[in-house]
């Protein structure tokens, strides 16, 4: 499913979107499918499936640990695409990964494999706009959205340039730092949202972990909230994972209605 169609559907229902991140293959390939099912059942509208990389510089300790677990359990790009094809939920799937894995597979091949396995968006946190030409071209050819990030220090012409390039949604990093749960989300979010003028849906991530924060971000004007580490922590605990994932997703989705 394309991301734009999902946002159009939500628009009709006057809802905002919940975007959930989990790392594929954490703790093993078989469980990811069930976890995605629980996320969607709970109310996730878009699922970001992390393809784990050995050196995830944009991630905090929670997602680093998840990547390590997944790699140890044998996750790799071949298995990843196989698994993605087997997911039959009615939500867009977005691949989040680091550039070397894309480069190594071949940029064109990677975009094609995404499209073929039902992945309709790509986020690459270590690929800034300046270096993204080839991947953008490959994504366009294959009908995959390329989602760019903006941050509190992205300003002026840079901001405009990135907003022109992003498709699907724009990923707004609410504060400086890496991924992970934080307490201070609201203030910086409304600051940056005020500076972003675009027709593309605005999704805020990095640091959001509970329904109160999600509600604040939506109130500040976001079209979507992105939650990752909070789900990953539940997976890491190994305790009653699917039902707790579903429960958290449903609480967060409440804040989006």
């Amino acid at each position: 499913m394309r991301i734009a169609d999902k946002f159009a559907e939500l628009d009709k229902r006057k809802e905002k979107a919940l975007i959930a991140y989990v790392c594929a293959g954490d703790p093993c390939a078989e469980t990811t499918k069930e976890i995605v099912h629980a996320l969607v059942k709970g109310g996730a509208d878009i699922v970001e499936l992390g393809l784990p990389f050995s050196d995830p510089v944009a991630d905090g300790p929670t997602i680093q640990a998840a990547s390590t677990r997944a790699l140890k359990a044998g996750m790799n790009p071949d298995l990843y695409f196989e698994m993605a094809s087997s997911i039959k939920e009615n939500v867009p799937l977005v691949c989040m990964t680091y550039y070397n894995l894309i480069y190594k597979r071949g940029i064109e091949n990677f975009a094609r494999d995404c499209a073929a396995s039902g992945i309709t968006g790509i986020i690459v946190p270590d690929l800034p706009a300046e270096e993204s030409g080839e991947l953008q071209e490959a994504c366009r050819k294959n009908g995959v959205d390329m989602i760019f990030l903006v941050t509190p220090v992205t300003t002026g012409s840079r901001m405009k340039h990135i907003l022109d390039m992003t498709s699907g949604f724009v990923y707004i990093v609410s504060r400086l730092g890496v991924t992970g749960e934080r307490t201070d989300v609201a203030g910086s979010t409304s600051n940056i949202l005020d500076r972003i003028h675009t027709d593309v849906p605005k999704a805020v991530g990095f640091g959001i972990s509970n329904k109160e924060q999600a509600a604040e971000v939506i109130r500040a004007g976001a079209d979507a909230v992105i939650v990752g580490s909070a789900f990953v922590n539940i997976i890491a605990s190994g305790d009653n994972v699917n039902s707790r994932i579903e429960e958290l997703a449903s609480q967060l989705k409440e804040s989006c209605r």
Partner: protein, 407 residues
């Protein structure tokens, strides 16, 4: 060619949040690199604090034994015991001109961390250094040295707990504190403009060699040999000679225990020799990776060469054939460590021992010509404990083997 690229290598593969900082750094560097006041101050630090210029020493005994003229560029005599201070003084001064308050750095063996701590203490910065937990254990005296100079050392426990992970963690810190912090990268690696800035500050090595060898020999050397991990001393001594086509340039990588790789790790650190193109820590370069693109852990007896990537400009120069990548094994480097100590009374760092070893190995082949300069990038005092342990292990296994033979 984009300004940030060396041929197809280089670039800026970093999170968006760092792009404005890289832009700011490049602007500041372009503004100050030719600024008379900046240069005068840098010159003062280089001379009075670092102890430049360093001698170009004719290694008489080594030359006699190997039958060619061998000069050593004595970077081991720079304050702190290695070439690393050339770069940290330059970047710390730049950070001061940029109005930054805090400096962070990564370190492998602790040499760059120590050089950062020195520059930071002297210029009044708050400094924090990221170091792999494994390296913290292996190099605890260097940790203490840094702490003595008021630097906070963070032991990094993620990944392989070595240099690569220390860089990741420093990048994460920078992503978080980019507004008041300068990330002082220690080698010619990372996103543009770092490979250029570090190369330029280290080029003082090659510039001095040019004048010194002219004075002593009336001509340029036939070859220059330098060890290469990330490649900062190599780029520093090579760069002023790039245009001198008759001077052969040899970066010597750590061949470790052989050029093989297992599923998770390489037994070496020879990215220029056997690495493949990829993107690591901000740059498109040659890296050690598996078939999916996951980064392999590297290995070397010398912590300073133990890195899965290499500077993008070196990858470029190798690609166009201007430099000739080569490597020597742990064993050969150790032999050179002993040889130089015995013959010249100079204990080389294990890193620099790789360059010495290559010259010992190739002197008789004619490949190097008859006038060679070795970049003696650091002194070996920091390695004594490690070498001593290796010697003991060898003796123990040796005597066990003897006992087995007796039984």
């Amino acid at each position: 060619m984009k300004r940030s690229m060396y041929g197809k290598f280089g670039g800026q593969f970093v999170p968006e949040v760092l792009m404005p900082a890289l832009e700011e750094l490049e602007e500041a560097y372009q503004r100050y690199k030719d600024d008379p006041e900046f240069l005068e101050e840098l010159d003062y630090y280089m001379k009075e604090f670092a102890g430049r210029e360093t001698p170009l020493y004719f290694a008489r005994n080594l030359s006699k034994k190997y039958g060619i003229k061998i000069y050593l560029k004595r970077e081991d005599l720079v304050h702190g015991g290695a070439h690393k201070l050339n770069n940290t003084l330059g970047q710390a001064l730049l950070a001061r001109y940029m109005g930054k308050e805090r400096i962070i750095a990564e370190t492998g063996a602790g040499q760059h961390g120590t050089a950062t701590a020195m520059a930071a203490a002297n210029m009044g910065f708050k400094a924090e250094v990221y170091m792999g937990a494994k390296d913290v254990m292996r190099q605890h005296m260097n940790v203490y040295r840094m702490e003595l100079m008021g630097c906070k050392v963070h032991a990094v426990r993620s990944g392989s707990m070595t240099l690569k992970d220390a860089i990741n963690e420093a990048l994460r810190d920078w992503v978080t504190n980019v507004e008041n912090t300068h990330y002082l990268i220690g080698s010619v690696v990372g996103p543009h403009p770092y490979p250029m800035i570090v190369r330029d500050f280290q080029s003082v090595i090659g510039k001095e060699v040019k004048e010194q060898i002219m004075e002593k020999e009336g001509r340029y050397p036939d070859s220059i040999v330098a060890c290469a991990g990330g490649g900062s001393n190599a780029m520093g001594i090579f760069h002023p000679f790039i245009g001198e086509k008759d001077v052969k340039l040899f970066p010597v990588e750590a061949g470790g225990k052989g050029l093989q790789t297992t599923e998770k790790e390489a037994l070496h650190s020879a990215s220029l020799c056997v690495g493949e193109e990829g993107i690591l820590q901000g740059a498109h370069t040659l890296i050690l990776q598996d078939r999916h693109g996951q980064i392999l852990e590297s290995s070397s007896v010398s912590a300073g060469l133990d890195y899965s990537g290499v500077g993008p400009e070196l990858a470029y120069l190798a690609d166009i054939g201007r430099i000739k990548p080569c490597n020597v094994s742990d064993e050969e480097a150790l032999e050179a460590f002993y040889e130089l100590s015995h013959l010249e009374g100079i204990i080389p760092a294990l890193e620099s021992s790789h360059a010495v070893a290559y010259v010992m190995k190739m002197a008789k082949t004619g490949e190097l010509g008859d006038l060679v300069v070795i970049s003696l990038s650091g002194r070996g005092d920091k390695d004594l404990e490690a070498v001593f342990k290796l010697k003991e292990e060898k003796e123990t296994t040796g005597s066990e083997e003897n006992m087995e033979a007796c039984l």
